[in-house]
Structure formats: structure tokens, C-alpha cells
């Protein structure tokens, strides 16, 4: 073997500066992977920063009022007393109403789309349901104030209370002002429906054909095959979707703020106004009169942060397990 041959790579590098260029390329690779790693790490960093900033700002309140902060309803900012209980109660109750109303509808729609609808109808109807998620919260609030509330005031609330005599349950009693836990729950139901529906639809479409056909071949009716074969298969994914919807409902702010009445009281009746953690923040944050008040609000924000992180983590885990 002759020398010039051996030197091909080396010669070329000297000849036209390939060496430099290639070293540059190695640096480019390092810069590139450094950059994308940095961008990726922005995500955990952002979460940590949120937890730290809000947590430390809320710490004085949590420290001062202790665990009682979460369960007390004494809300007198002027006296330096805060209780998050009405807001936590309202957050939970409005979310429950939302899920109770939205879940059957969402599963119904998804079953309609995955099992019943003719092919040409699937896309448009699915698109319309998805569109619900594209409408901004503030527009839901606007619609709620001027369309939903009047309808609730008359005839829905009087109908529930007087005609159906549901006032005896305690849930549907008292004056029908309009702004209420019920109104917030209904608007939330409309808002979380597309989230539950889209996850459910995805999960239902992932159910193998054989699962359905096996049931139908055994002589089951369409409903029996859905109930006996399809739903059990998709159950944990659908539950994941519901919990994802719960996460949305817990933190939804504008529409709820505009419809719930914003009164820091725990009332048994769903006709009564209430408060949620998110609406409490939206309402009082810019008017916080003292450091103590601000810290108390931050503490509420921190609780909301923790709850939604946990709920979302559970939802993700459930949905991922199916895939």
C-alpha cells in the first residue's frame, strides 16, 4: 500500500479545511443537543418555579393559620382572618355538578361517534364537539350571564324547586337569583364535555373490532355488545378522561367567576351563590389590601396548584396505561 493512498483522509482535511469544518460539526452537535436539552428542561424548571414562587409567597399564610386555613370559613381580610373553606367547598361542588352532567353526555356522544354514527356524520359531529373546547372561557361567561342565567332564573330554577318539589332535598331551595353554584356547574359541564368526549372517543376507537364482533356473533344486541364488551375494555381510559375533565373543571376561572355569584359562604342549596378557589383568586387578587391577604391568596393558589397537579398526574397515568 502506497503512502498517498493511506493519506486520503488526512490529505483532504489539509487540502480544503475539512478538519476545521468537522470539528465545527462536532461543536454544532454539542450545541444542538445542549440547546434542546435546555429547552426540554425548561418544562420541569417552569413547574418547579411555579411551585416555589407561589408556595413561598403563600407560606406565611399557611404557617400562620395552619391546617385550619383550609377548613375555616372566617373570611374577614380587614381583620386579617382568612379561610379558604368556602372556596374549596365551591370548587369541589361545582366540579362534581359539572362531571355529573357532562360524563353521561360525553360518553353518549363518544359511543354515538364510535359505534353508531354513519361514517359521513362522524367527522362533522366530532369537529363540533371539539369546537366546544376552542371557545374561550370568557365567552362562555358572557353567554352564561346573558343567556343561561335568565333561563335558570325563570323557568328552570322555579321548576326544579316548586313544580318538582325538589326544595325538600335542600339542594334546590331558596331564592332563584341566577348566579349560583348550579349555574357555575352547568357552564363547567359544557366546558369539560369536549375533553372527556375526546379522550373517550379515542379510547373507544382503540377497542379492537374483534371485541365487538365476538359479542355480536354470540347473538348480543348492539347495546349488549357495547355494555358487555366495549365499555369494560375502554373503562380505565374513559375514567382517565373524566379525571382529565375534573382537572379542567377544578381550575376553570373566568366563566365560573362570572356565574357563581362570588360569595364566600358554604350553602347547602345549589341555588345559592358560592365561590371557587379560582374565582376567589380572580376576584380578590388585584384588590388584596395587605401582605397577609396576598399571602392567603397565594396559599389558595398553591393548594389549587397541588390539587390539579395530582389530578392531572392520575389522569395521565390512567390514559397512558390504556395506550
Amino acid at each position: 500500500m502506497t503512502l498517498p493512498e493511506r493519506a486520503i483522509i488526512a490529505t483532504r482535511q489539509e487540502d480544503d479545511g475539512v478538519t476545521l469544518r468537522i470539528q465545527g460539526a462536532a461543536i454544532g452537535d454539542r450545541v444542538y443537543s445542549g440547546a434542546i436539552t435546555f429547552f426540554a428542561l425548561c418544562i420541569p424548571f417552569l413547574l418547579l418555579a411555579i411551585a416555589w414562587e407561589i408556595g413561598s409567597a403563600g407560606w406565611p399564610a399557611l404557617h400562620k393559620f395552619g391546617f385550619g386555613f383550609l377548613t375555616s370559613s372566617d373570611g374577614d381580610p380587614v381583620q386579617g382572618e382568612f379561610g379558604a373553606a368556602p372556596a374549596i367547598y365551591g370548587t369541589i361542588v361545582s366540579s362534581i355538578i359539572a362531571l355529573v352532567l357532562a360524563t353521561p353526555l360525553a360518553i353518549g356522544v363518544s359511543l354515538f361517534l364510535s359505534e353508531l354514527a354513519p361514517r359521513w356524520l362522524r367527522q362533522p359531529v366530532g369537529f363540533l364537539v371539539d369546537l366546544l373546547a376552542a371557545i374561550p372561557s370568557v365567552v362562555y361567561g358572557l353567554w352564561g350571564i346573558f343567556v343561561l342565567l335568565p333561563v335558570l332564573r325563570d323557568p328552570v330554577m322555579p321548576f326544579l324547586r316548586d313544580t318538582l318539589h325538589l326544595d325538600k332535598t335542600g339542594l334546590f331551595s331558596g331564592p332563584a337569583y341566577g348566579p349560583s353554584m348550579l349555574a357555575a356547574g352547568i357552564i363547567l359541564a359544557i366546558m369539560v364535555l369536549p375533553y372527556i368526549a375526546s379522550v373517550s372517543r379515542e379510547v373507544l376507537l382503540a377497542v379492537p373490532r374483534s371485541q365487538r364482533e365476538a359479542a355480536l356473533a354470540l347473538g348480543a344486541t348492539r347495546w349488549e355488545s357495547i355494555w358487555g364488551a366495549v365499555l369494560p375494555y375502554a373503562r380505565s381510559g374513559i375514567v382517565g378522561g373524566i379525571i382529565l375533565g375534573l382537572g379542567r373543571a377544578l381550575g376553570e376561572t373566568m366563566a365560573v367567576t362570572m356565574l357563581i355569584g362570588n360569595r364566600p359562604e358554604i350553602a347547602a342549596s345549589l341555588f345559592a351563590p358560592g365561590y371557587t378557589m379560582a374565582s376567589l383568586l380572580a376576584n380578590e387578587f388585584s384588590e388584596a389590601s395587605s401582605d397577609a391577604h396576598l399571602s392567603a391568596l397565594m396559599a389558595v393558589g398553591f393548594v389549587l396548584f397541588l390539587i390539579t397537579v395530582i389530578v392531572n398526574a392520575i389522569a395521565r397515568w390512567l390514559v397512558w396505561r390504556v395506550r
Binding site: 460539526a25 454544532g28 452537535d29 450545541v31 444542538y32 443537543s33 434542546i36 426540554a40 428542561l41 425548561c42 418544562i43 420541569p44 417552569l46 413547574l47 411555579i50 414562587e53 407561589i54 409567597a57 353521561p104 353526555l105 353518549g108 356522544v109 354515538f112 359505534e115 359531529v125 363540533l128 364537539v129 366546544l132 371557545i135 374561550p136 372561557s137 365567552v139 362562555y140 361567561g141 358572557l142 353567554w143 350571564i145 346573558f146 344486541t221 347495546w223 349488549e224 357495547i226 355494555w227 382529565l244 379542567r248 381550575g251 376561572t253 373566568m254 362570572m258 380572580a282 387578587f285 391568596l297 393558589g301 389549587l304 396548584f305 390539579t308 397537579v309 392531572n312 398526574a313 395521565r316
Partner: protein, 287 residues
């Protein structure tokens, strides 16, 4: 035999009823959307005029006026949010796609979903604490950053997905040509996936365009014309909110008109996104 027949009949009835229930659910789910659109058109279109887009808000009692400042403010906030959210989101998405299966990527993906599920009001108070409080005043920058942070997980996940469907062979071909990895990723893989990523970015923009809660304590709103990034800035959603909860009928109409414009903006963005998606797998279009 009679019993079997009766059971069969009952099963058929149950079947029919349940199937009818599904159809009913579908109708019921779509109804609110239709109502909202009808009301938006009915109540919003009356206040739409040239003035609405070009004039400033007027005090109560004075006729006319528009939301020019809120419209420009929303566009500025969208721009700021994209400047924050797109590079970080696309970069993180590339990382997730290239490190698929690694522990770090799985962790980041999970946290990205968690971040995506955070209430926007939490992002709002975080941005206030982080960006407004130290400076001492509200600003467009803080609002844009809050919205941008919300975009990151959305853009990251679409980027990951879109980069994931680019055939591995394409990247290999570039490597075999002597492309360094970074160039392969950017010039070949990312470029091939770009149409899909643009779609995802537009969807993310459409979603944050209507966000109000993150702006309440950051961009804050502004009754006056302002393009300054360091000053509070008006935004359509904020304006809709304050008009909607006001006691004045004329402001209510402006709120409806604002909502109609906001929805139109969001739909135009989504429409562009859909068109972009459609051409994703067609020809690349040469140079």
C-alpha cells in the same frame, strides 16, 4: 319458549332505547355550541362596524367607540407568547422525539402534560409573582410570557408527534451524506415535519388567544392606546370580561361584538391550521 321470546323482546327494546339515548346525547352535546354561535351572531353583529376596529373605547354614556386598543393588544400578546412558547416548545419537542424512551424524556413528557393541565389562573398569579411584583407594575411582557408558558407543553407535544412520523430513513440518508446530527435534525427532520408543527403552533395560538385569567394580573388591560411592552396593555378577552360584568347595556353590546371578533380570530387561526394540515403530506414544493 314464551319466556325466551319475551326476554328477546325486552332486550330489543332496551337496545333501541339505549341507542336512542346516544343519539340524544350527541344532539344535546352539540346544542350549546349552536346556541352560543347564534347568540354571538345575533347580539354581536349589531355593534360591529368600522369604528369597532379603529376607534378607542369611549366612556359610558357616549355613543360609539371601539376596541382598537384591545385588538392590537391581543395581537401583540399573541406575538410575545409565540416568541416565548414556540422556540422552547419546538426545542423541547425535538428533545422528546430524539430521546424517546430515555428516563429524562419520559419525565419531561409527563411533566409537560401536568403543566398543560395547570389552571390558567395559577399561571397568572405565578407570572405576577415572578414578573410583575419585582418590577412593580403590570406589563404586556408579563402577559405575553404567561401565555407563552402555556403554549410550551402544547407545542412540545405536537412537535414530538410530528417529528416522530418523519421516516427514520430520511434522517439516516442525511447522516450517510455526511450531515452532522444537528444539521440532520434541523435541516432535514424538522423541516420535513414543519407543516405539521406549524399546524400545532397555530392550534396552540388559537387556544391562548382567548385566555383571560393569565392576563388579569399581568397585562392587566389598558383603556388607552398603548403598544409599549413595558406598560399594561389591553386585550380582547380582558375587555370582554370587564364589559360583561359592567352594568351598562352599551358595554354589554360591545362585549358581544368583542366576543364575536375573538371567536372569529380563533376560527381563522384554526382554519389556517386545518389547511396547513391538509397539505402536510403533499409535495414539499421545491425551492
Amino acid at each position: 319458549m314464551a319466556g325466551v321470546a319475551r326476554t328477546l323482546k325486552r332486550r330489543r327494546i332496551v337496545n333501541a332505547v339505549m341507542l336512542a339515548v346516544f343519539v340524544g346525547a350527541a344532539v344535546l352535546a352539540v346544542l350549546p355550541l349552536i346556541f352560543i354561535f347564534l347568540h354571538l351572531l345575533k347580539l354581536g353583529i349589531g355593534s360591529l362596524s368600522w369604528d369597532f376596529f379603529t376607534k378607542m373605547p369611549k366612556p359610558v354614556g357616549e355613543a360609539g367607540g371601539g376596541l382598537a386598543n384591545a385588538i392590537s393588544g391581543t395581537l401583540i400578546l399573541i406575538g410575545l407568547a409565540s416568541a416565548v412558547g414556540l422556540p422552547i416548545g419546538v426545542g423541547a419537542g425535538l428533545f422528546l422525539a430524539e430521546q424517546k424512551g430515555s428516563k429524562l424524556a419520559n419525565g419531561v413528557r409527563f411533566l409537560s402534560d401536568v403543566l398543560n393541565g395547570l389552571p390558567s389562573i395559577v399561571m397568572g398569579i405565578f407570572a405576577w409573582q415572578f414578573l410583575v411584583r419585582p418590577v412593580g407594575h403590570f406589563s404586556a411582557l408579563a402577559g405575553g410570557a404567561a401565555l407563552g408558558a402555556m403554549m410550551i407543553p402544547m407545542v412540545a407535544r405536537t412537535t414530538e408527534e410530528m417529528v416522530g412520523i418523519v421516516p427514520v430513513a430520511l434522517g439516516e440518508a442525511a447522516l450517510a451524506l455526511g450531515y452532522p446530527r444537528w444539521r440532520t435534525s434541523l435541516a432535514i427532520v424538522l423541516r420535513t415535519a414543519s407543516a405539521g408543527i406549524v399546524t400545532g403552533a397555530l392550534v396552540a395560538i388559537a387556544r391562548i388567544a382567548g385566555e383571560t385569567a393569565p392576563l388579569l394580573f399581568t397585562a392587566f388591560g389598558n383603556q388607552f392606546w398603548s403598544l409599549s411592552l413595558r406598560q399594561p396593555i389591553a386585550a380582547l378577552p380582558l375587555q370582554i370580561f370587564s364589559y360583561a360584568i359592567s352594568p351598562y347595556d352599551s358595554w354589554h353590546s360591545l362585549a358581544w361584538a368583542g366576543a364575536l371578533v375573538l371567536i372569529a380570530l380563533i376560527f381563522i387561526i384554526s382554519l389556517i391550521a386545518r389547511v396547513a394540515t391538509r397539505s402536510r403530506f403533499s409535495t414539499g414544493g421545491g425551492d
